[in-house]
Amino acid sequence: MTTELFVGLYVFLLAGFIGYGVITGIPPLLHTPLMAFTNAISGISLVGSIVMAGGEFSGLTTFLGFIAVLAATINVVGGFLITDRMLKLFKKRE
């Protein structure tokens, strides 16, 4: 258990540093699409929700899992689409 916790902490911290490094390089021009984009990515909690909604552990967990899958899917699908819709708007002068 301790090993798993520490492996997790290594992964979290290293990913956090990579994220920090990459994201400071993103121009303010694209900050709104960035928020929509990371929002879609954080819809990754779909991974946990799917197991709850499909696991049939109990009525309550299936119901809460259902709501969670619904909320996370709205974020994933809507988030990616709206990011792309915004990015399409950014054009250089012809």
Partner: protein, 456 residues
């Protein structure tokens, strides 16, 4: 877990990082989105193969309905409503994470190891806080809740008290995961704190709040990763958390305020007396649309400063059209974008991009601020606090020290405004009463269209 599933998760993690890297340049950004979409597909595919899943019925229904809602929202929401949509999606993200945490606790409670319990505690805490906090932010942006800062006695004391109580609950639960009652107290206290913490924050500070909530949503997802021992969740959550953190630091720096000040320092108690405001109003020089158009059409260089008022009036297309006319007359037209103009990071850039303003015409504060002094006309469209010279000159001003655009240094400053009322921060703006400033009252979109008619 099988090699296939682990490989899919690994590929997903790499694709997420590559996706975010794509956003460092407008040219590669859309490819970045594609990478992340593929990554998400891998992660979901891997999860659907999970051994614990015995029925796909509810997954398919929830996924189908969620996808339909997501598609509809993405297609129908106007760009001016982007801060509202982002706030709402943070709420969904927080809700999903919190619910997974509640389920995990409900199923295992006393059998949970301390590590897993701690992770569930974090997940539920951040998830619930993000859920209700983002709903409040949405309500304020949408005007369902008063956008002003709502204050009451002992506000900061009770918020800090609630936060300390949450940390204490988290510690007790980690030591003894069997305390089911306390777990639900933690859940509901976190929900309540989300509301309480956003209530006192005025709409002008929303860029910081939205960025912070973005970070919390990421941390909640990362905590879910620790609960489920799933690395792709940890990585995606960490990336999201880092992004929100970078943005909120950038936003508070642009307001010259600390996080603590934004969260606990509800300002807006306007110190100015009515007499002072009246004296100022007497100095404001009003210009007709014709006069203002004449000033603009004879100016060789123009800088346009957009603000939240442009979004409210949906005037971005009219702004671009006016800019085009001035350019075809031979003027040099540029746009100066303050980092906190609008209600979220990058708000103005997206609106102007929607109106087909090429992005190489949009300049950040540092890139353009020295050029105002050599500019003939600065046109302020619905911006207020971000051009307030008090931030540079008046040490008693609540925004003293905040970096502002030097609109006051242009030879002439034309301000389009509905009324003389102070900005959302509740601070009077001396720029409007300066000698080189003229104010054109009225709805920005209408004023701009009439200027365009006059120029055509």
């Amino acid at each position: 877990m099988s090699y296939t599933v682990e490989t899919l998760y690994l590929v997903a993690s790499v694709l997420f990082v590559m996706g975010i890297r794509g956003l460092t340049r407008p040219e590669t950004a859309r490819r970045g989105v594609l990478y992340a979409e593929l990554g998400m597909a891998c992660a979901v595919a891997g999860t659907l193969a999970h051994d614990d899943i015995t029925s796909y019925r509810w997954i398919v229904v929830a996924g189908g309905v969620g996808a339909a809602i997501g598609i509809a929202m993405a297609a129908l929401i106007p760009m001016t409503k982007m801060p509202e949509r982002i706030a709402l999606s943070h709420a969904f993200g927080g809700l999903a994470a919190a619910l997974v945490g509640v389920c995990e606790y409900y199923l295992h409670a006393a059998e949970l190891s301390r590590v897993t319990m701690g992770a569930i505690g974090f997940e539920v805490l951040f998830g619930s806080l993000t859920f209700t906090g983002s709903l409040m932010a949405f309500g304020k942006l949408q005007g369902l809740v008063s956008p002003r800062n709502i204050t009451y006695p002992m506000q900061n004391v009770s918020n800090v008290g609630a936060f300390v109580a949450l940390v204490a609950l988290l510690v007790v639960l980690t030591i003894d995961p069997g305390q089911a009652g306390l777990f639900y107290v933690l859940f509901f206290t976190a929900l309540a704190l989300g509301v309480l913490i956003v209530i006192p924050i005025g709409a002008a500070d929303m860029p910081v709040v939205i960025a912070l909530l973005n970070s919390y949503a990421g941390l909640a997802a990362a905590a879910t990763g620790f609960v489920l021992d799933n690395r792709v969740l940890i990585i995606a959550g960490a990336l999201d958390g880092a992004s929100g953190f970078v943005l909120s630091v950038a936003m508070s720096r642009a307001m010259n305020r600390s996080f603590a000040n934004v969260l606990f320092g509800a300002f807006g108690q306007v110190a100015e007396s009515g007499l002072q405001a009246e004296a100022r109003a007497a100095h404001v020089r009003e210009a007709s649309i014709g006069d203002a158009t004449l000033l603009l059409s004879s100016a060789p260089s123009v800088i346009i400063v957009p603000g939240y008022g442009m979004a409210v009036a949906q005037a971005q297309h009219a702004v671009r059209e006016l800019g085009d006319h001035l350019e075809s007359n031979g003027a040099r037209v540029r746009y100066a974008i303050h980092p906190v103009a609008g209600r979220m990071p990058g708000h103005m850039n997206v609106l102007l991009a929607e109106a087909d303003v090429p992005y190489d015409h949009l300049f950040e504060l540092d890139a353009i601020n020295d050029d105002f002094a050599d500019t003939d006309v600065c046109l302020v469209v619905g911006a207020n606090d971000v051009v307030n010279p008090a931030a540079k000159e008046d040490e008693s001003s609540p925004i003293y020290g905040m970096p502002v655009l030097n609109a006051d240094q242009a030879r002439t400053c034309i301000v389009l405004k509905r009324t003389l009322s102070p900005g959302f921060a509740g601070i009077e703006n001396d720029l409007f009463a300066r000698e080189n400033t003229v104010v054109v009252f009225g709805d920005a979109k209408e004023t701009l269209s009439r200027m365009i008619e006059a120029l055509a």
